[in-house]
Symmetry: C2
Subunit: 422 residues, 2 copies
């Protein structure tokens, strides 16, 4: 079984002795996760093996493809970050996806003027079926849809991803209006849901190969279960945990050297922040995730990472082989600034720039690690998703926090609702 993702942590500035000192805690974390999983309480780790759900998703997606060339995904946070990531990284030739997250009148009015509803389906995603922003945008878009295709036929365009439970008002509406329901898994939070219908239904509609995404996730997850403390997920969590608790390196930068992984950075930001930023025994703890893109952020953030406070870890994502290769022509050979790159490839530049940045961080005594994927492929993306989900689970166990709730978002929601109900 080939790995689609490897992890080089030699430059993390953590000694073997330090690793050994936390090893027992990691092993215990592993056992707790596995016990909970076997009890059915970590269902996100079993999603890669749920081929039955995937078949149903693929079937629903084919029905969409038969009739529509576009789909609008209405969702926010865990309801759309995964699908956005897959769409950016893999694209798809069957349908074009558009995302509507923010109740910003300028973006939504721009969207409204560009929709041809005859060709367009809409996937409304909300686990609880109550998400304010999503419901508001859905109500606006639905009115436009009905105006164009009529009340009678509008339901054929709408696919609702929510918990199939009477507790979800969106599920109740779907029943009343006869919208097709893609079930949101009951016990999986939004930020751990990308490998369920939440992420895979839009991906399948677009034409991305969801079987290969799951196969990649399966490979990484099988490896995790077998290798225990030595898995990429466990090692990544161990390194971040020691960096955070022993060295106060609380800012965790993920810097992908690939434009098509910028959305992955936003997906990571959510799972790392919302799962681990918690109050434990009255004390506020948790790392701050930061998403960066190489080489772009060498010209924006690297000055800070190299010379600013030693409060960060940097994890690179390196793509070993790009799907395209571009050669730089040899011109202006009499100018040194141009001559030395003539004949090289763009991917060579990106590789060597990452190596240069790693070198500079090391010279400045700043820790870095590198996650390597063979290519931006469905398999490597599936591996990345499940690996970061598992790493989050390990970090939660090591930190002693519940990685699966988000009590700190309620206060603001309540206040907004109070203001809106005035």
């Amino acid at each position: 079984m080939e790995s689609f993702l490897t992890y080089d942590d030699r430059n993390m500035r953590i000694t073997d002795a330090e690793r050994r000192s936390v090893r027992k805690a990691v092993l215990e974390a592993h056992m707790r996760i596995e016990k909970a999983r076997v009890r059915g309480e970590r269902e996100f780790l079993d999603l890669p093996f749920d081929l039955r759900s995937m078949t149903a998703i693929a079937r629903a997606a084919r029905r969409v493809q038969k009739r529509f060339t576009h789909m609008i995904i209405v969702g926010i946070g865990g309801s759309d970050l995964g699908a956005r990531t897959i769409w950016q990284a893999l694209g798809g030739s069957k349908a074009t996806l558009t995302f509507a997250s923010n109740p910003d009148p300028e973006s939504i009015s721009h969207l409204l003027t560009s929709i041809d509803w005859k060709q367009t389906a809409m996937n409304v995603v909300s686990k609880s079926g109550t998400t304010l922003e999503t419901m508001a945008i859905f109500m606006v878009l639905r009115e436009s849809l009905i105006k164009e295709v009529g009340t009678k036929h509008h339901a054929e365009h709408i696919f609702v991803t929510t918990e199939p439970s009477p507790d979800s008002p969106l599920f109740q509406i779907a029943t009343e209006e006869a919208y097709e329901v893609i079930p949101h898994p009951l016990n999986i939070g939004g930020r751990f849901s990308v490998l369920s219908g939440v992420g895979l239904f839009p991906a399948a509609v677009s034409g991305a190969n969801v079987r290969r995404i799951l196969a990649g996730a399966r490979t990484a997850e099988t490896e995790r279960r077998e290798r225990k403390c030595e898995s990429v997920a466990a090692r990544f969590a161990l390194n971040q945990f020691i960096s955070m608790t022993k060295y106060a390196r609380t800012n965790h930068v993920l810097m992908a050297y690939a434009d098509l992984l910028s959305q992955f950075g936003f997906w990571y930001r959510q799972i790392w922040a919302e799962s681990l930023g918690k109050v434990r025994h009255g004390v506020s703890i948790g790392p701050t995730p930061i998403a960066a893109i190489g080489a772009i952020d060498q010209h924006s953030q690297i000055q800070l990472y190299n010379e600013g406070p030693d409060d960060k870890t940097t994890t690179f994502i390196e793509v070993e082989r790009f799907r395209r290769s571009i050669r730089i022509p040899k011109v202006w050979g009499n100018h040194e600034a141009f001559d030395y790159i003539g004949g090289l490839s763009l991917e060579r530049i990106l590789h060597d720039e990452r190596a240069g940045t790693e070198h500079a961080l090391t010279m400045h005594h700043r820790p870095s690690g590198t996650l390597r994927i063979h290519a931006i492929s469905p398999e490597s993306l599936g591996s990345l998703f499940i690996t970061f989900e598992a790493a989050t689970a390990y970090m939660g166990e090591l930190m002693g926090v519940n990685a699966y709730n988000q009590p700190g978002v309620e206060e603001g929601k309540r206040e907004a609702r109070r203001l809106l109900s005035r």
Copy 2:
């Protein structure tokens, strides 16, 4: 004179006594900045008044518009973040802008397949004229341009923004090949250059109203000079400085409640990080800027901001009036989850969500401030740019660092160059 930008810092959790204790230092910082400016050493603060350069830029832009409908900007970091910000926020009806920053073969090959060179100009931007990524992409795009329009006519498509100095290899090339040069101001670093031709030439080409951008910047800058310590820029810097040094709140979140300001967040990230992340007397200091978007990041980062470590300040950008208004239809009145928002507007939701988030941060004893702009307009954008540039200058003075160099990026560049020359 109307202000296009106001600042509410009542929730910053800083007492009047604390403010008074730093007031003298801020006043001294102000005097040093003004002295340096009068000596001609803070030229970025005078750009809003440089109407002569702007007239030349507008004239060059009209020549582009006459012949082309598209322009590709090749640049990275300070060479393109400003133009990207203006293009996203204001758009323009005269020409479509596309940006090429990263030597990522997948994005560049995607770009190459979509260019119609007959309709397309190219603006290559590099202050030093040596930027590796920019030169590489330029050489690739130029080859494609020549293939389509021929060597003889290709120069008509190319506009080079660089220092008009023999030290810039790009300037030498421009002279040899007869490319039109838009001069990069000699004494202004990339991240302070948005209000020069670096940002305004692409903006003018697209059709954005650069006169109004400068007018907004002029208003804010005039106010800064008059109000000294009471200006938005000085107050913002003072609050961030006290938060950082006295309360160890080193992570500075800028959270705009507007999709069209997400690029502004990236522009801010550069100026704050690269200017202030420095070694001073052998000690690494500096805030870490973080860009967020409301309401989206309420579903991703707010759990961390509310309950995670008290190491952050949050500054909201609130847009008072959006250029569009969208009403949510009244439907499903029998479902409470939908009923309470029926009849409201999307912008009302965005406003009340920001207020809810501010309330929640305050309940969790986390500081926040709010920058208010009347609308996303050329004037407010100009005000934001110059205000953050000036705030960076104040912070540099208060911290005792040189905000205008970036010694920490050299190590990585050298190593990359060594690897590439192998």
